[in-house]
């Protein structure tokens, strides 16, 4: 079954698959940004009816974000993982809410913590953080220690600190 999926995608998107790794009941695709939506759509047609997670990695040295979509097929009990790199300067990508409605909250979380824009997502309002004015906290160039020391501790205090 895994090899069928692999060959079907390879024949349909010969230029867009950068790397395919399959092991046991899991298959991972690294794909180009231009065709990632069509590939996800194709995978949904194959039978991946559940989107488990949409997460992101900040590759600051390469100035790229990597978005990772975890898919699950209830019928075949197979996991598919789709990885797509997007430029860090313009982190905008098409939303997959049209394919899986459950993507809405995952994308909202990524929008808040990484600052990635999902075009077509109906609600990207703040989720966990309220009144946040800094850069998104999960980005690698956000200095957590510096922010915490400035916001929560007095200037002359050393940290870690336990006030008496």
């Amino acid at each position: 079954m895994i090899s069928d999926i692999e060959s079907r995608l390879k024949s349909k998107f010969p230029d867009s698959l950068l790397n395919v790794v399959s092991k046991d009941k899991r298959i991972t695709f690294s794909v180009k940004k231009e065709k990632f939506y069509s590939i996800l759509s194709e995978l949904k047609d194959i039978g991946f009816d559940h989107l488990s997670d949409v997460t992101a990695v900040d590759y600051i040295d390469e100035q790229e974000f990597e978005l990772i979509y975890h898919l699950w097929s209830h019928r075949e009990k197979i996991r598919a993982i789709v990885k797509v790199r997007i430029p860090r300067e313009v982190p905008t990508v098409k939303s997959v809410v049209g394919l899986w409605t459950g993507a809405q909250m995952h994308e909202r979380e990524d929008h808040e913590l990484f600052g990635i824009n999902f075009e077509g997502n109906p609600n990207l309002a703040e989720l966990f953080l309220e009144d946040w004015e800094e850069i998104p906290p999960f980005r690698k160039d956000f200095d957590t220690r510096k922010y915490v020391k400035e916001k929560y501790y007095q200037e002359d205090e050393q940290y870690p600190i336990v006030k008496g």
């Binding site: 966990f128 953080l129 309220e130 009144d131 906290p137 957590t144 220690r145 922010y147 915490v148 916001k151 929560y152 501790y153 940290y159 870690p160 600190i161 336990v162 006030k163």
Partner: protein, 149 residues
């Protein structure tokens, strides 16, 4: 056989001390250590302590676990709804020092910057015995005339 005589409650503060109704705000592991008190194991009802569903009925506000910046606003809202006299009990290291979240961007480090805290039971998390000690201390303090806010 010894004759049992009913105990006479002499003052208003003593009556208050043995009829403490609590509203709980639990975000993390602190509640796991308070659970033996809620259940029949340690049974906090023998001290007259009763969990109530509304802050408007409560005398004591128990905050256990870390307080995120988002939760801090809700804590202030709950506290403002409570009727006087009201007491605040912080449970565990997190609400008063940040605990293991001392370097987290999303948790506040001292809850007493938002609302006044009367008693802090230290620990990460505190043991049920420590919590019981704290509860009895709090009851004695109320009996002795601790006014609250």
């Amino acid at each position: 056989m010894k004759k049992l005589t009913p105990k006479v409650i002499k003052s208003k503060s003593e009556a208050r001390a043995w009829s403490v109704w609590v509203i709980n705000y639990f975000t993390a592991c602190g509640f796991m250590e308070l659970l033996p008190w809620v259940g029949s194991g340690y049974d906090m009802e023998r001290f007259g302590i009763l969990p109530v569903p509304s802050p408007r009925h409560a005398d004591v506000f128990i905050i256990a676990g870390y307080v995120t910046t988002k939760a801090a606003k809700r804590i202030k809202m709950i506290y403002d709804q409570m009727a006087s006299p009201k007491y605040v009990l912080a449970l565990g290291s997190c609400p008063m020092t940040g605990g293991m979240y001392w370097d987290s961007y999303a948790t506040i480090k001292r809850v007493d910057e938002i609302i006044p805290v009367d008693l802090w039971i230290e620990g990460c998390p505190p043991k049920p015995e420590n919590i019981g000690h704290g509860i009895v201390m709090a009851a004695n303090a109320i009996k002795g005339g601790l006014k609250g806010h």
